[in-house]
Subunit: 213 residues, 2 copies
DNA sequence: GTCCTGCTAGTCAAGTTTGACTACAGGCGT
DNA sequence: ACGCCTGTAGTCAAACTTGACTAGCAGGAC
């Protein structure tokens, strides 16, 4: 599963009501075009598809206030909210070796109650542990690891990143349990979207690594 | 870019001439259906597409020797070989936060000369270093990291996995420079495909982590 | 004999992703 | 008055991915 639905649902939900271009700007503000498949086409497609599935409610509104074609505004429905929470929980809980979904989920993690966030992260660690032991067992045939030649390096890579992922997760759990950040029901929520007309302070100077994925 | 083309080209090349089902079996033998998008549909699509682009040469051959529909055999063309090497080099060189492409590339790394493999891995480390510093600069605004709230955890995740990736890469470089494995031009190449009729010893018991990507 | 299961080999429709493209409004220079 | 550039908002075809489906043959069960 890609991160696009989670990102789009999260963005629309933060606004209450948003059109595609607004979502697109939020994702750029979050730098999501750098670390996920958040291209214009994908965003508009996700909006339409989720509207068709009843996760979003589409309002065909007046032509834009500032030039350009007429725009459609979207709102998250009750099912959409459930889907959002389901995607969020799954993204935190499951170890799938792709960082984009997890990155998105961390951005929204404070939408969950603190205790649940911790519980999901612990499930994640358990999943990593299982994956790790499956890999080490699978790739240790009777003849010993040498029989695999350089192929053993693949296993080594996986084990290495599983361990690193577990370590990061444990650190996050510790900080959350230590009282860091403001979770659902604990006061003013963190606001991470651009208001109508506000400009993106990070519009230029985005990281852009030796990126060519 | 997904890993499918690299995997398919690599598999066909190892056989010299292979039909889709053979490629499919190799990828299963390698466990690729677990860690990449190597589903039947994708494999056959990649074969057809690359044949259309001249990277593979298709031979419409006689009906199969063991039941089933007639099959098409493929061979890697000269352009295909160049594309294979280009994909392989790119996959090793560039840090794109997706493990599937790198895993595939490590499986084929011994197709390159030892010195080139090391050089590419060093480029990879440099890429990671650049990405890491871009992230730490971008996400350290004047007001200090606290101003980001929980969003700083995303940066933390990226830095963590960049560091882990660099460490793994350094380890691999050290082993290769220490004389491990057999690279191009150094003797009998490693053979990692199933011969016609050979059965897959790993057919069952594949890892299958808490997988739901 | 014929039914059933499993293996071989691949197709297909539906959904998703990509990157390039369109179209409109306002402002700016000349 | 005219073209030109920027910003707004979104469309589109082509490629790719997914998961379910088809169809032929072999071998054993009954």
């Amino acid at each position: 599963m890609s991160a696009i639905r989670l990102l789009v649902l999260g963005a629309v939900r933060m606004h209450g009501r948003a059109h595609g271009y607004q979502v697109r700007n939020d994702l750029e503000y979050w730098g999501a075009h750098e670390w996920s498949n958040a291209k214009p086409g994908s965003i508009y497609h996700a909006l339409k598809q989720m509207a068709k599935q009843g996760l979003l409610l589409a309002h065909e509104t007046a032509p834009s206030t500032a030039g350009g074609p007429p725009r459609t505004e979207y709102e998250v429905t009750a099912e959409g909210l459930e889907e959002y929470r389901a995607l969020l929980r799954d993204a935190i809980r499951s170890y799938d070796r792709n960082m984009d979904v997890l990155s998105a989920a961390v951005g929204f993690i404070v939408d969950l109650p603190r205790a649940e966030a911790v519980a999901l992260l612990k499930e994640r660690i358990e999943g990593i542990r299982e994956w790790r032991s499956a890999v080490t067992e699978y790739y240790t045939p009777e003849e010993g690891p040498e029989s695999l030649g350089h192929i053993g390096e693949i296993m080594n890579l996986w084990v290495h990143s599983a361990d690193s992922g577990a370590e990061w997760t444990r650190g996050l759990i510790a900080r959350i349990e230590g009282g860091a950040y403001t979770f659902a029901g604990e006061g003013d929520p963190f606001v991470g979207v651009l208001a109508e007309g506000e400009e993106n302070p990070y519009a230029t100077g985005v990281p852009d690594p030796g990126d060519d994925e």
